[in-house]
Assembly symmetry: C2
Homo-oligomer: 212 residues x 2
């Protein structure tokens, strides 16, 4: 260990559990509760108490010895770690059913995400509003991204169109893509792609079902 102590890297497993804690903590906070012990959170989430303790320590959640973690401060610590304490402006490409479902999901406001525009090429979709969000023609991408300073792209187009649109997004300077198309995207190293693969979850369910 040298002069510059690098903060220990937090594992993706931990990162993926954080939203679960957040949900419970929000609800307890709303009830006026002030402290949450790892054992109480374990009861609620089915995650082992020691895992929770380690996860919360990793994001620097404040605690009181013998009493538990301070709910308000823990919420802040998680939100801050994830960057959910201020809204990232996002937009959606592909305003089909899945796109509309995401636009209608109110929970994103708590998750640092504000979807402020949608894009599509179908004439019957362009110009409409979905859940209060305007649908632009995809040809307007660059202009709207610049004007509204959009940061995160949510890709809900058919698989066949995904890579082509991704190339456009990269050319527009987008650095974060949340991809719901079942396609591996090729992007430069400085672009973050989060692949949401529905087939993986189904495979898990089927494998578990078979082994019973």
């Amino acid at each position: 260990m040298g002069l510059f102590s690098k903060k220990k890297q937090i594992s993706v497993q931990t990162i993926r559990r954080l939203p679960q804690y957040l949900r419970v903590l929000y609800s307890w906070h709303a009830y006026g509760r002030g402290l949450a012990s790892s054992t109480a959170l374990a009861d609620e989430t089915q995650i082992p108490a020691i895992v929770i303790k380690k996860d919360l320590q990793a994001v620097g959640a404040p605690s009181k010895m013998r009493a538990g973690f301070k709910i308000k401060g823990t919420i802040s610590a998680i939100e801050n770690f994830l960057g959910w304490d201020n809204l990232n402006k996002a937009f959606l490409i592909g305003a089909g059913h899945l796109g509309a479902a995401l636009l209608g999901f109110s929970g994103f406001k708590n998750h640092g995400l504000e979807i402020v525009a949608a894009f599509d090429t179908h004439p019957e979709r362009v110009g409409n509003e979905i859940h209060g969000v305007h649908v632009y023609h995809t040809a307007q991408l660059q202009r709207v991204i610049d004007e509204k300073k959009l940061k995160i792209a949510i890709l809900t187009v058919p698989g066949a169109a995904a890579q082509g649109i991704t190339d456009t997004l990269v050319a527009c300077g987008i650095k974060a893509i949340w991809n719901f198309a079942p396609v591996k995207l090729n992007v430069p190293a400085d672009v973050a792609v989060q692949q949401e693969d529905i087939a993986s979850g189904l495979a898990e369910l089927c494998a578990r079902l078979k082994s019973k």
Copy 2:
């Protein structure tokens, strides 16, 4: 090791990667290719070749020394392992946008899943067809499950309704639930629940974005 050699348990990580291999293998098979080496699959999927080799060996994929895995046999091995070689009859509860998106996803036919009914309580949805699938009133659950011998429930209802409907499903004898509501479900031990938590993926993306 005793008389009964227990087949080694396959990890969830491996299980979640299998659909990716399947996609590439389908496409190569369609092109008339017969063999797939782990290195070739690695180029396509960005997954390390040795991981692929181990995964395919784990599901008993047939191979030719020095040449690679036999595509047709490997497809069969994976499909068989996941139970995707014959269709499971599934139904959807909650025929909103997300439900409609899933009903419109044609890929499920390749994934052992056939969605043959949908349920909802909204009068304007009940009685309609979505992508050729009839929407019943939720009150008909038990009857339709029995008549059509439905096995897998896909839950796309609002979070607040999820646990209540789950209790009904359990009472109807359903043993597999694919849950898209951001809620932890309480079920008996013999019921498999696959939780699809969109917030986890978003958290991963945001964390990666922040660390740049």
